[in-house]
């Protein structure tokens, strides 16, 4: 994976999610986008694998924030426009502020096989985060079990995350059948909560 593609580096990791510092201030990966982290799992790839998937942990971005690096000191307003700020307070961009994003882990790849279950170990700290290639997104969203992981994730606006993830994958697949299949998976998951299903599908269609 090329260095220019790096979008972040993990600064906090657990079994279900990780927090990464964005490479560029104010430019985290889009909400609901698919990202990956290199993983020191088995390295064999399948001979016929068109995407040649490397061992990786896949996650969906569900939260991003920008804040002062030093959390002990609260940032004050400068009452200046953007250009003036850049000229007069360059340190703001350079070292005072940082953008972080959080991503929920939806599966991993080992031996060229995508598994939509949590990886055996969380990703290592300070590991680089990359965006997923379109081919990878197609491959990892072939099965729709990841929607359940997203739906059940406790600390996120789940309807929004699910809708955004489906939209992202749908744009790449460019097939209405993808949308219907994803909808059916959600309908099965939310059979007792039709209102929530409706809310998500409405967001997807927008």
């Amino acid at each position: 994976m090329a260095d220019e593609q790096i979008i972040g580096e993990i600064i906090e990791a657990s079994t279900t999610e990780f927090v990464a510092e964005s490479r560029e201030l104010h430019s985290p990966p889009p909400f609901g986008s698919f990202v990956k982290v290199a993983w020191n799992g088995p390295t064999d790839t399948q001979p016929d694998d068109p995407f040649e998937l490397q061992p990786a942990i896949y996650a969906v971005v569900h939260h991003a924030s920008t804040a002062p690096v030093n959390t002990g000191r609260r940032l004050r307003a400068f009452w200046k426009d953007e250009e003036e700020l850049k000229e007069q307070q360059p340190e703001l961009d350079e070292w005072m502020l940082v953008t972080n994003f959080r991503a929920v882990i939806i599966g991993y790849c080992a031996n060229g096989q995508v598994s939509q279950i949590l990886p055996p170990k969380p990703p290592k700290l300070l590991t680089r985060v990359y965006p997923c290639e379109p081919g990878e997104i197609k491959r990892i969203t072939e099965q729709k079990h990841f929607l359940r992981t997203l739906l059940l994730f406790p600390s996120a606006p789940t309807e929004e995350v699910v809708a955004a993830a489906i939209r992202t994958a749908w744009k790449i697949c460019d097939q209405d059948s993808f949308l219907v299949d994803a909808g059916k998976e959600l309908a099965n998951l939310l059979k007792d909560d039709y209102d929530r299903l409706q809310a998500i599908m409405r967001r997807v269609a927008q």
Binding site: L179, V180, G183, K184, A187, K191, Y194, D195, L197, Q198
Partner: protein
Amino acid sequence: MSEADAPYGRQEIGQVISGSLLNGLTMKLHADQPIEEIRAGKFVVIQGDKSEFFSMITDVTLSTSAQGLLDNPPSRDDELMHKVLAGTTTYGTVALRPMLMVSGKDLLPVKSIPGHFRPVLTANAEDVNRVFGSEDTDTKYFHVGTPLDMGETPVCLNLERFVERSNGIFGKSGTGKTFLTRIVLCGVIKNQRAVNLVFDMHSEYGWKGTVEGERAEVRGLKQYFPDRVAVFSLDPDSSRRRGAPIDFEVKIPYGQVTVEDIILLQNELNLTSTALETCYALVSRFGESRWLSELIRMDADAIKDFCETNNVNQAALSALQRKLRVLTESCKSFLIDERETPIDVDAVRQIMTYLDGGKNVVLEFGQHTQPLRYMLVANILTRRIHDYYVKKTEESLGGDKPKPRPLVITIEEAHKFLGPSLANQTIFGTIAREMRKYNVTLLVVDQRPSGIDSEILSQVGTKITCLLNDDKDIDAVLTGVSNASGLRGVLASLDSKQQALVLGHAVPMPVVIQTRQYDDEAFRLSMGLKPPEDRDDAIKLEIERDFA
């Protein structure tokens, strides 16, 4: 099981999700199966672990797993939501009634049910042949139609079993009973499983019949089997006008009318029970063969004398005479006072000669379509033919003589003969109950089965039922059928034409059929009638030979 694994022509449409042996099974319809193509009466196969369960679809239901959805349904334009919900939150469930268990080559009655989630498949041609037999394998099978949505696969009746019992063809007026009856009669005649005596009320069976709503005509039995069918007529003038050749003109002498025949007509003639007692008094005085002609000839003095000497009410006798005079007058073209006009050939003897010779007899009524005349003639003839058969059967039991050929008597408007108040008294009731002991059975054609005595209906072997709407009629047809609840809906949802539910002795399981086309090219060929071109060729050959 995926579609690829299914035998050729079978297609998986759902999975069994619940059910019981008593109440039938419930199948969840696969999301890709359009619910509108699932029709009541369709023939399906459930693939169990050890057996296959041949079943009929009896009901189709819309189900949902989310009650809230019904309170707030998606809008009609929300196509995506409709697609998403179809098969997941909203789905079709189908009630199935297993009718037959097939284990290897054995066809067994259903005594168990398949397990959870077993696949339900549409039946293929091989399944239909396995259950209903095929004309190619045995002549006892006769193609009467095709299962619903199954193209050209024939469903066959087992004619050997069919003629063993009395049978019924039911359906509302205009649903194709007559066509079905013609088809079945053609089968019985072609395969020579029995001889037929058809009381042809509307002259539809003998030479030619009509097609309702069209100005077309179809061939009658005689045109299909000129050597094996004889047409008798009560009204030769009508036959002549219709251009239908007849073999014999039927005349019935007064001497053959018995009190039993009059009992049958008691509703039609509005007779009281006293009138019937009076009849018996006449019989005891004048004898079986002369009572009617004596009564018709009596004048006022003779009535008075008779009443005094025989202790009979004079008013009752006069009333009886009036009513029977009306009867004899209205039937005078075929009901003959043999003391005035002797009759050369006895119609019954003539019919028996034909039947003994393996010839089928169609008795056309011509203009005499009133129920009164039809019932009178049918009863007189049938009673004597039945007596004759009883005698012949007893002789065969006694020793050397062979059993008489099985005889099937076809009667229309059967509820008039077999109503609850008459069934115990008329010969038709006796035949329906005695069944095959004497090799005489009935083919009952009727539009009002609820008018037929339930005891008789329960003994009917094979029932072929076209559309019936009246609940009473549906109940009546399903009398004597076990687990009939599922079949009610099937019966009520038949098409109004050319669809029938066949159940009973001659088919291993109930089945809804699209009835075979009568008198089309394929039917003519299968009946052994040459195509018209061949006939033309044959005529040309004959002409060439004659002029050579």
